[in-house]
């Protein structure tokens, strides 16, 4: 187990370093944006004011509140300090709401949408890829190019197309939001049903585009394994085909776990844009609002949470990989 602890420790160390780097980037980049965000809030109230001194008073008030007049480095330490207290600052566009509060209400929707969708896409993709490798012939020739084409459609394109077909033309699914416009959240079947209905389009648009990439990877790996020497040897020994196939796909699956970790960032990015198309109340929509309103505490908050989510997911996958990959397992006993 010692070897495993070492593996775990090393991974953890790297994620720590990455987190700090992400923190730095998240803090610095949005603040490089020219223009004065404080005057944005002031502008909302100052319209129609005729006295310049009144405007100035409002301005100073907010500049103090946000600490924008202090030096960058001081702002950074305040930011990190607050972060550990779970405080991500105050939103400019939704002042005086806390960024943590805004994100808190969005994060559940995004997790609930993306996690199942990405896992579903991964599973379906692997099954398809394995089938394509095993069956080949027509299945491979027709289905693979098709999945490849669908995975080439950008996430927002798929979202718009599904929206136009199912919501606007056929009117079988709701157009926007996370639950029915005539509902107030509660624990009734009606409400859960409404949530599920609103869930369909965003969910499937993510699934459809993520199938292709996974399927192609899985197909290649499976073919590679099917032609490997151990398979020939096993066949020679007269081991049952089903059992061999089991081994083959298990081996082919392994790199796919890493494959998922690799594509996670891209998938999440695409899915966030898809959220916007459906006005899904998740992080993508929140981030879009932040961008539109030049609300940098909100932007750095959302990007940080997304980064952390991807970090954690990648970390979990790495750990999972460590458990199921016999090579890593073997290393533990060295």
């Amino acid at each position: 187990m010692k070897g495993y602890r070492k593996y775990f420790g090393k991974k953890l160390f790297w994620f720590g370093i990455t987190f700090i780097a992400a923190l730095l980037l998240n803090f610095t980049l949005p603040r490089l944006m020219p223009g004065d965000p404080v005057s944005m809030i002031v502008s909302k109230q100052a319209q129609g004011l005729t006295e310049a001194s009144a405007v100035k008073a409002i301005y100073d008030n907010y500049a103090k509140e946000f600490g924008t007049s202090k030096p960058m480095i001081e702002q950074f330490f305040t930011y990190v300090g607050n972060l550990f207290k779970g405080d991500m600052g105050t939103s400019f566009s939704q002042y005086p709401r806390k960024v943590a509060d805004i994100i808190g209400s969005a994060v559940g929707w995004t997790l609930g949408l993306q996690l199942p969708a990405i896992i579903m896409g991964w599973l379906l993709g692997n099954i398809l890829g394995a089938l394509a490798a095993y069956v080949r012939k027509g299945f491979d020739k027709v289905l693979m190019p098709m999945t490849l084409f669908f995975s080439s459609v950008p996430a927002f394109g798929m979202a718009v197309t599904l929206l136009v077909i199912f919501s606007i033309t056929l009117k079988v699914t709701p157009v926007a939001g996370g639950y029915g416009y005539d509902m107030i959240p509660n624990f009734s079947w009606n409400f859960i049903n409404s949530v599920l209905q609103h869930y369909q389009l965003p969910f499937w648009s993510i699934v459809i585009i993520s199938i292709g990439g996974q399927a192609i990877g899985m197909r290649s790996m499976s073919i590679y394994e099917l032609n490997a020497d151990y398979v020939k040897y096993a066949r020679f020994l007269g081991i049952k085909d089903r059992k061999i196939v089991g081994y083959v796909f298990r081996n082919a699956m392994l790199p796919q776990v890493t494959g998922l970790a690799l594509s996670l960032g891209t998938m999440v990015g695409g899915a966030l844009v898809a959220e916007i198309i459906f006005s899904y109340p998740g992080l993508g929509t929140t981030m879009y609002q932040g961008i539109k309103m030049m609300d940098y505490p909100l932007i750095s908050g959302t990007t940080l949470i997304i980064t952390v989510m991807v970090l954690v997911a990648t970390f979990v996958l790495d750990i999972v990989y460590g458990f199921i990959d016999p090579r890593v397992k073997a290393a533990q006993f060295e």
């Binding site: 980037l25 944006m33 590679y224 960032g265 999440v268």
Partner: protein, 416 residues
């Protein structure tokens, strides 16, 4: 080399992908000659003109005409004026207004119209009828009244000097103009966009810009990834550690997030297509670096490399002759993938409002962004966004196909 190329072109997947890509490139090159002019020129007033051919009404009045007697011309004219649904609605109104319609046959236009003209009055308020429906009847009535009753239509003009009305010409129901005789006919196969710009022309131009963004981004990312990978892999030691430190960090931070943050921090004035391409390239070198490094490490201790090193060959020479050729196929494939993801990244950024600044050059992402801002997808203006999605999908599909084809060529086990 020749052999490899021949092999590559024997892969059906590669060939299909290559053909699609070339077809797009060819259209991009040829179309501007067929339809020259500035793709961003606003030719139409108003938004989203439907696809089709537009004939100048002004010019067709003066154009030479021929006379045709088409038997069902009148029926068609009426059908265009009043659809079956309209007629059913007219009957419904008459019923609601308590007119006896038991005798009325909706198929019989003349009696329907007569009865309508006799009974309809926009002032009558039918209880329970909503405003939208009332407005519909008022519009219907206006179009019935304005439909020409006589067989000829007079075109008149006012003399500027005297203020007199001069009759210019008479148009009869049986006059037809040959489209070729009309001075101004515009063909808009994909209509116009929200600014009244020719969508097809813009799409072709945008396609070119987006592909160049992809190429620049891909070239930057591949070059950077290759260089860092080679250095890290071949030199090892602290150089390797140093490069891998950054690579590890940027592997896990989603490049999408980085793109958003960087683009957000660049002021819109400076965010040209080139800048965006560069930023995309600079955020996507990580994977190339990692794989190049691991391949170089496995190559580093091969016999031919050792031999070369013992012969005292310089570092660049060893890399160029003994290492690069072995990873060239991989680098090529990585490049193709990065071009495709570069195009996609631009589109996604633009959709968030973080793409290149507008009005300078069209890009596929900007077209999509403007179509969405004017809710083209909701008001049925499919021509403003669907071709864009299709083109992005086709470009990236063709590149992916080529990539899969190459994969099969270079990894013989994958061949069919």
């Amino acid at each position: 080399m020749k052999n490899t190329i021949r092999q590559v072109f024997h892969s059906p997947k590669f060939v299909v992908g290559f053909c699609i890509f070339m077809a797009i490139l060819l259209t991009m090159l040829v179309y501007p000659f067929i339809n020259p002019g500035d793709p961003l020129k606003m030719i139409g007033l108003g938004t989203f003109a439907e696809p089709g051919t537009y004939v100048s009404m002004y010019d067709s009045v003066g154009a030479p005409f021929s006379t045709f007697k088409i038997p069902d011309a009148d029926v068609k004219r009426l059908d265009k004026l009043l659809t079956q649904e309209d007629r059913a609605k007219m009957r419904e109104w008459l019923e609601l207004a308590q007119v006896d319609v038991s005798e009325l046959d909706v198929g019989d236009m003349d009696s329907l119209l007569a009865m309508w003209k006799q009974h309809y009055d926009p002032e009558i308020r039918i209880p329970g009828m909503i405003k939208a429906v009332r407005n519909y009847y008022i519009r219907l009535n206006n179009s019935i009244l304005s439909a020409s009753v006589s067989d000829t239509l007079k075109v008149t003009d006012t003399d500027e000097a005297t203020g007199e009305t001069i009759e210019k010409t008479k148009i009869s129901k049986t006059d037809y103009v040959n489209v070729d005789d009309v001075a101004n006919v515009i063909s808009l196969p994909l209509g116009t966009d929200n600014f009244g710009r020719d969508t097809l022309k813009q799409l072709v131009a945008a396609c070119g810009v987006s592909i160049s963004i992809g190429l620049i981004a891909g070239a930057v990312a591949t070059a950077l990834g290759l260089l860092l990978g080679l250095l890290a892999g071949y030199l090892g030691g602290w150089v390797d550690d140093f490069i891998m430190f950054f690579t590890n960090i940027f592997t896990v931070i989603p490049s999408f997030v980085l793109l958003i943050l960087i683009n957000y921090s660049i002021n819109q004035d400076q965010r040209g297509a080139g800048t965006v391409a560069l930023v995309i390239g600079l955020t996507s070198w990580v994977w190339t670096t990692r794989s190049v490094r691991s391949q170089v490490i496995s190559l580093r201790n091969r016999d031919h490399v050792n031999l070369s090193r013992l012969s005292g060959h310089s570092l660049p020479r060893i890399i160029l002759t003994d290492i690069l050729p072995y990873i060239a196929s991989y680098v090529m494939m990585a490049f193709i993938l990065q071009v495709s993801s570069g195009i996609l990244a631009e589109a996604q950024l633009s959709l968030l409002g973080l793409g290149p600044k507008t009005t300078e050059v069209p890009t596929l992402g900007l077209m999509m962004n403007w179509a969405m801002l004017y809710s083209a997808h909701l008001n049925g203006s499919w021509w403003a966004y669907f071709p864009v999605i299709l083109v992005i999908a086709l470009i990236s599909f063709s590149l992916n196909l080529m990539n899969t084809g190459l994969d099969q060529v270079f990894n013989p086990t994958l061949r069919e």
